[in-house]
Amino acid sequence: MSTRAFGSRVNRNIDSRLLRGQGAYVDDIPLPGALHVAFVRSPFARARITRIDTAEAEACPGVAAVYTCDTIGHLDIEMPLLIPHGSMDNPRTQRPLARDDVYYVGQTVAMVVATDRYTAEDAALLVDVDYEPLEVETDIEKAVEDGAPLVHPTNPNNVAAHFVQVSGDPQSAYGEAEHVTRIRVQVDRSTAAPMECRAVAARYDRVTGELTVWDGTQAPISVRGGLASIFRIDEDKVRVIAPDVGGGFGQKVLLFYPDELLVPMAAMKLGRPVKYIEDRRENFIGSSQERTQIHFIELHAKKSGEIVALKDFFLHDTGAFIPYGIAVAQVASTSIAGPYRIRNIEVEFKAVYTPTVPVTPYRGCGRPQACFAIERAMDQLADDLGLDRFEVRRRNLVRDDEFPFHREGLLFADGLRVSLDSGQYLKALAMVEEALDPASFAAEQEEARRAGKHLGLGLAFYVEGTGLGPYEGGHIKIHPITGKVYVNTGLTTQGQGHDTVFAQIVADELGCAVEDVIMVEGDTKAFDWGVATFASRAAVVSGNAIYKTAKIVRDKTITAAANMLEAEASDIELRDGAAWIAGTDRKVPLAAIATATNPLRYAFNEAAQAATQFAPASRHDGPPLDDGQHPGLEATDYFSPECATWSYGVHGAIVEVDPATCQVRIRKYICIHDCGNMINPTIVEGQVMGGIAQGLGGALYERVEYDEDGNPSNANFVDFLMPYATEMPNVEILHLETPSPLNPLGVKGVGEAGCIAVGATVASGVEDALRPLGGGPFRHTPITPSMIHQAFETA
């Protein structure tokens, strides 16, 4: 163990299991006798329910129960508003099953429980619901106009929230500007589409009164709290387990989805385990989505390109409900100035109800939209002032000596200040410039143009506030028998590789092998202090909590080992699963230390004999454990960040636009990325690459379509175009590692980084490619062949 695990490209602990098909996702949990759920969902975007007749469904063979809002008792409530905020008027959340009105196609109206999903789907079709359809408006710009049909009569002009934030003194600064660049940009709706849809299973043990819920959630501890509260059961009788989860990307952090309450309810009422395995169609019409925003952004600048003030107004589509508060819009509004030294900011948004699937964070959470707005505006500013796109950025980037750079007056989504904590922004820009070599590219572009090919260079910088609080914990215990190190934290994994990166942190402190760290997350019976996986926070918040905890266990281990080896603590080193007296071959294994520090009555192995009451080392003059002393090698500690730590990066691309097919082909893609100290570069790159693929989806392919009546028209993988391997270009990732000063490990989050700048980069490239023809601008993603065709036509 001479090399440090932290920073190494260690293979993942979890892979051997997943590769063999031994993953245990919710639907893989054996629950003999389980009943299965299917939902009756609204076929109308906005309607009044006048009658529900469940008789025929109830009589259907194999059906155990059919529930409507009238038969779910105290669950017939508006579900919790998770993040209250003063900017919302009458914040509306959904009921588990619709009462009186439905607000989007896909909203749950009734629930059928049957012997199997096939039968449950049959019976769901037999539930007879009469609807009186109401008028709808799905276009957010029209929805805020007077007279537009209202989603909720409680909210005039469909405004769910209205919020203004100001940094500096923009009103005075506007007067100092010599030029104003004003553009409108739009990002359309997408969805996380994790490969595993959502899933919930529940079992109620009527003997013990324990409710166990398997939930493919990013927030099991919060789900447990909510269930205990809503069902009025003691917390210790509710166990929530997030087992292996097949991707989340934010969609699975929302609680509660109706099934998360109704499935446990049915398990309790029916006395049998109950499962709801969401299918793909339901994932498209029933699980959260995100992205639609329309920004009107202004850059007030000097002729030199120096930006003196930024003004942004945007509309944010929140869908039919706002259960997650204004988080998405707030992240967008506080990220709007990007990496730039803009001291005067005025940013205002309206969150708008539309009769569509509710909007909560999807990987990126407002950042891609903010990046798209500011970066498209930066390109336009360069164009307006006749400056090079790199140069206009260089003149405005926060310089290395200006960190930490506070955006006074802005509060981030955690209610804490916005402070760009560290970075090398200028170096990052220089790296992408070197990789793309704009000077020689210009020549290539010119030559290509003469051959009828349209090449363009795309560029976008992004920042990402990561590692939000409030806190996470770490619990570490060295197993006395095996000497393996057992670690818990409160947040959960959906494939990010937590078990490996956290193991790397622990392995360095305790001198054990990474494979000998057993990481257990997502089970409230194992550890139940913590929040959830969101906002690229696991490495920062749990990582540092585990690091702090490992330090405590390390100290305990060294102290105990020094006693056992009769050496000075300062001479003890931990490596190869043992404590050694430095420079000698005398050692004691971690298992033996863990056993020795745990006074025993019963000997069950050789090491244990040494810890029993009549063993030579046992004391006979007082209690085996002193007051305040704990048995074994175990500790728990927590980390609570003072504010978000800001990752950043630059993307650059060379794109080709084919005038025949109007297709965009990415010939080269460079990503410069800095997330502070990297625990495992391979995993960091995996996160970035996956994010880039999702960003590419948003840039060119993925748009959730609603027709004018609010019907989703591509709620399937045939028409919602997620990239395959054939659509993914080669990507080169280059790293910078500027430690964060805000946490002991110096790490920053990486989960969402990849997706943020892709739309802006691709649009920048396409615009550059078609500029000589007068085609464009490109300020709307996804960029479709039809849009490019339009640009060619108008050129």
């Binding site: 993953g23 069902f231 097949g246 006395g271 049998r272 693929a693």
Partner: protein, 183 residues
């Protein structure tokens, strides 16, 4: 809250027509009497407990449920269990060796960090294995491998590590063939 809990009676059993299917799964003969509408994916997962085959879309686009049917990759979600009657099925559970050694494709996926959440992985791997085992030349250019992988969605990795893993798997397979030939 106190719950009045009793095992609520379920209406009499479903009227689904059933059929008896006999097939070979991972080298073993199995026989079950199931509803004729049961999908092969559900049959493998819930009748046989082979939960390594995952279900991602149930309309044939994502490829998570890909298994080998008579030696060729196919969607178990687009195949009825009765259609598999008399046929030979291989799932991801068949790949690792008797001592638990990973199959070269699994090994390569591990080495190349070609999986994250692992949900698409078994289907992805079965598709790759079917190509590596097929007669004829493999196109191991970037484009050829991408084409091989097209038809399997992955939402985590961005695919590039999977492309590397396929190339690595082909090398490992080639090596083991060479070693076998030489030894």
């Amino acid at each position: 809250m106190t719950q009045r809990v009793a095992n609520v009676p379920v209406n009499a059993v479903s009227p689904d027509p059933t059929a008896t299917v006999r097939l070979h799964v991972n080298g073993e003969e199995v026989e079950r009497t199931v509803s004729v509408r049961m999908l092969l994916s559900d049959f493998l997962r819930h009748e046989l407990g082979l939960t390594g085959t995952h279900v991602g879309c149930e309309h044939g686009v994502c490829g998570a449920c890909t298994v080998m049917i008579d030696g060729r990759a196919g969607r178990s979600c687009l195949t009825l269990a009765v259609q598999a009657n008399g046929h030979e099925i291989r799932t991801v559970e068949s790949l690792a060796g008797p001592e638990g050694d990973l199959h070269p494709v699994q090994e390569a996926f591990k080495d190349c960090h070609a999986l994250q959440c692992g949900y698409c992985t078994p289907g992805m791997i079965m598709n790759v294995v079917s190509h590596l085992e097929a007669d004829g030349d493999l196109d191991l250019t970037d484009e050829g491998i991408r084409d091989m992988l097209s038809g399997n969605l992955c939402r985590c990795t961005g695919y590039l590590n999977i492309v590397s893993a396929v190339r690595r798997a082909a090398e490992l397979t080639e090596q083991s063939h060479t070693e076998q030939a030489g030894g």
